[in-house]
């Protein structure tokens, strides 16, 4: 009876562990997305600016003086503008972005239109985290099933701990792996469980809903996205045809007025309807930083102002949200981390790293307990090593290649197809590591060399950023770009840690050959 539980835990676990590792590893890098996003692009090397100080009128002239065509071939209305403010937490960016124009970014200091890099490694990490490997839908669905399996593993793990009384005395390295796999993942279990539930919703939600949608709507539709949505996405306001042109109150004053209506709020987005018209309306969307667990992505606070007399037309605070909105927000709060400040982010990153160690220990446990002549062992040993070590090297390769590759070689065309060099490099690293592992069979030496390599790559990244770009750590510190300064410092620290780790790696703990 107990053995059966162990067997199913092992069977399901070994099938999904590598997917879970990929998701978790790049999830940790995605926690630090704001800093990576600023670090990787010289266009984003600008000092922090308060939203009050931005000359919004001047910036919006950049939008209204250009003509844009929509998807249906008609000219887009220039008086409906949706923009994201420079918001480090929510948008992981320090530029103004016009949301209803494609690839339209503005520098908040000078209000000039700028073109950031088309391919960013922070977005690549995010894509791998959500399962869009090779941009294919198959991996997305596989990642969804993986998160269901994670929920199963959590529940069966709890049952195993209840039924078998494990003792925490360590004699061999196998017992060492077993103990720490159990303890580390037990203490972080609520988080892992929540990641499983929400991950399944993100990746499988749309695909698993047709039957229930059809049943609840009495067969009207199979697509859940066609049902009237009153949560998750707020509908646009009504925008009547432009009638009479007049001058509105300045946007900065409206912003101040909107801010004074709330006790504590951070706005990250603004929507303008009928700009410079008699019916002009402005909607400010934000979150409440001190209202934990109910004010983040799905339960947004907003205010709608009349732009001609600054009257409040509509207002919603986080406490006014419906029961579902608040529940969803409470679940998503610790997955998105969109409202987290610097230090909570770092603490959360460390918690996620303990989960990662627990996972690596689980893989080691399986490898050290399985017979070596089994087929699954022969397949999984090189595969798991190449994915675990490949992720480390590929991520540090992304950092290193970011400032080394010259501007003209960021993308290339091969066989009439468009490729980004860094993306190709990313997948190539995994392949090369796999070949290296097949050729060189000594696991200890492979692990040691991989840590050396990624340590060197991270150090190269710091050096290349300091000497290859016009910004070095002294300049970034002096000009107040603390995010970039601390990213450089922490990359160097991680590089040193990896170097020592590879030097002090205990040989007796790598028991598999």
């Amino acid at each position: 009876m107990k053995k059966k539980l162990f067997n199913i835990h092992k069977l399901i676990g070994v099938n999904v562990i590598l997917f879970f590792f990929l998701s978790l590893f790049f999830g940790i890098l995605t926690i630090f997305q704001p800093y990576v996003n600023l670090w990787e692009d010289s266009k984003k090397h600008i000092s922090h600016m308060k939203i009050e100080d931005i000359n919004l009128e001047k910036c919006l002239k950049q939008v209204t003086k250009r003509k844009y065509f929509g998807e249906d071939g008609k000219i887009l209305r220039n008086d409906i503008i949706k923009l994201s403010f420079p918001s480090m937490e929510m948008r992981a960016n320090n530029l103004i972005r016009i949301n209803n124009r494609s690839n339209f970014y503005l520098d908040p200091h000078s209000c000039k239109k700028i073109k950031p890099k088309a391919f960013t490694i922070s977005l690549l990490f995010d894509r791998i985290h959500t399962g869009a490997i090779f941009n294919s839908i198959v991996f997305k669905i596989l990642f969804g099933f993986m998160s269901v399996a994670v929920v199963f593993l959590c529940i069966s793990g709890i049952f195993m701990i209840i039924k078998n009384r494990y003792r925490n005395t360590v004699k061999s390295s196998k017992a060492h792996y077993a103990k720490y796999h159990r303890l580390l993942l037990l203490y972080t279990l609520p988080l892992v469980f929540m990641f499983g539930l929400t991950g399944a919703l993100f990746n499988l939600g749309v695909y698993s809903s047709p039957l229930i949608t059809s049943h609840l709507t009495n067969g009207e539709t199979l697509n859940v996205l066609k049902v009237d949505r009153n949560i998750l996405a707020d509908p646009d306001l009504e925008a009547p045809e432009p009638s009479q042109k007049i001058k509105n109150i300045s946007l900065n004053e409206l912003y101040k007025k909107a801010k004074s209506e709330f006790k504590d709020i951070k706005f990250y987005s603004m929507q303008l309807y009928n700009y410079k018209d008699i019916n002009a309306k402005v909607k400010f969307i934000g979150f409440e930083p001190n209202n934990y667990f109910i004010s983040s992505v799905t339960n947004e606070s907003y205010i709608v102002l009349d732009a001609n007399n600054a009257q409040v037309l509509d207002k919603k605070i986080a406490d006014d949200g419906t029961f579902t909105e608040k529940t969803l927000d409470a679940i998503f709060y610790l997955h998105y981390l969109r409202t987290f400040d610097d230090i909570p982010r770092i603490i959360f990153g460390f918690i996620a790293m303990t989960m990662l160690v627990g996972l690596v220990y689980a893989m080691n446990l399986w490898l050290s307990r399985t017979k070596e002549d089994k087929f699954s062992y022969k397949v999984l040993k090189p595969l798991s090593l190449s994915i675990i070590l490949g992720s480390l090297i590929a991520a540090s390769m992304m950092f290193a290649s970011n400032w080394i590759i010259p501007k003209n070689y960021f993308s290339f065309v091969l066989f009439d197809k468009f490729f980004f060099t860094q993306e190709v490099l990313f997948y190539l690293v995994y392949l090369l590591i796999f070949v290296y592992i097949i050729i060189k069979k000594d696991a200890f030496q492979i692990i040691k060399n991989s840590f050396y390599l990624s340590s060197i790559l991270l150090f190269v990244a710091v050096l290349a950023h300091n000497f290859g770009s016009e910004f070095n750590i002294f300049k970034t510190y002096q000009e107040g770009m603390y995010e970039i300064f601390f990213t450089d410092i922490s990359l160097a620290i991680v590089s040193v840690i990896l170097f020592f780790f590879s030097k002090k790696l205990p040989k007796e703990h790598i028991s598999f050959k």
Partner: protein
């Protein structure tokens, strides 16, 4: 004779308690696919009783799906005989099916 022994062996392995700890194809199929069917019917039944808008009901139900899937899966896989695992799937399935779609 051989056929008789074969049928006897199959029936025995189907109804008797397993001596080894192999999970087996029957248990795994019913444990994974059968429990999905059960969990899906259960969330449909729950969603009928929620008082929010249709979209909210669907989202809440879909969030609960992985939880019920894994609970049912664990319950079915842990059954003592293979016959038990089939029963554990079919009986709740018929009950839930009647509850959700009604008797025609």
């Amino acid at each position: 004779m051989l056929v008789k022994i074969g049928i006897y062996m199959i029936l025995k392995s189907f109804f008797m308690k397993d001596k080894n700890n192999h999970l087996g194809v029957i248990r795994l199929t019913f444990g994974i696919l059968g429990s999905l069917a059960l969990a899906y019917l259960l969330i449909m039944y729950i969603a009928k009783f929620l008082q929010f808008s249709i979209f909210e009901n669907i989202v809440i139900a879909i969030i609960l799906l992985p939880l019920f899937w894994s609970l049912f899966g664990l319950w079915i896989i842990m059954s003592k005989t293979k016959f038990n695992s089939v029963l554990k799937t079919l009986i709740p399935f018929s009950i839930l099916y009647i509850l959700v779609f009604g008797v025609q």
